[in-house]
């Protein structure tokens, strides 16, 4: 796709690779709830800002930061304080 550096966001889909490196399941299909406004939606539909020192995902309803992911050399930091909960589909 594109690689211009513009001040725009992409979808939570773009988190798939980084999250899949940490979790055994695809978290972008999980349903999250925003701690700012209570909005519920898939992680894939968050607004993701990638041109930053880490990845910042914001609620599409209120723009609150719901997820931050920083990738260091040999570790990652995942901050979910803006997320009340994640509902994760699993095979039955």
């Amino acid at each position: 796709m594109s690689d211009t550096h513009v001040d725009t966001h992409v979808d939570g889909n773009a988190l798939a690779g980084d999250l899949r490196e940490i979790f055994a399941v695809d978290l972008t299909v999980a349903t999250g709830q925003c701690s700012g406004c209570g909005y519920k939606g898939s992680v894939a539909s968050l607004r993701v800002y990638q041109n930053a020192p880490g990845v910042v995902a914001r609620c599409p309803a209120c723009e609150e930061v719901v997820l931050r992911l920083v990738r260091g050399r040999d570790r990652a930091w995942l901050d979910l304080r803006g997320t009340v909960s994640l509902e994760i589909p699993l095979p039955s």
């Binding site: 800002y49 020192p53 880490g54 914001r58 931050r68 260091g72 930091w77």
Partner: protein, 211 residues
Amino acid sequence: MAFGAPLSSTDTMPIVSPGFTGRRQSPDVQLPPGQYLAEDFPVLTAGPTPRVSTDRWQFTINTEAGQRYDWSWQQLIELPAEKITTDIHCVTKWSKLGTRWKGVSLDVLLEDVETAADFALVQSYGGYTTNLPLEDLIDGQAWIAYRYDGEELTPEHGGPARLLVPHLYFWKSAKWVRGIQLLLEDEPGFWESAGYHDYGDPWREQRYQGD
């Protein structure tokens, strides 16, 4: 390679892409470790770009004792300003040399502020924060910058005004700055609470916690 081979792990050798150089210049000067020269001025942002008109812009210093000092835009630009030419170093590994700014030294703004604080939490329009020791904001090390390269500072680069603390990684130079909270205890900011180094000295490559 497919899954099972994380992209950034240190124990697997990366595949060198033949002929790939990236959009960089070859450094003819010494840069901090791990840095590359940028040819443009990359725009980094963790959210929507705030558009703050100078009519309603305000800069506030709050002390640990609850005292408050305010400046309107007009008051800010009437203060004695300095021209600063400096190198900047972003933690995402680009550096830019000889950038030219104009702004008001924090020494001027803090001159009449009574405080016993050791720490500062810098706050921005849009909700961004960053922390640093108060001693890194004084003695000619930090400015509230409102012009870049002879022009007004654009919103993309933090206008109307941003903090400029060029001796630390550039995430400390908060865009869209609106105030400083002075504190007795250190309080981590936006990136410092998500894995980035509390202090962020580029020459000691203090990128992440524990560096």
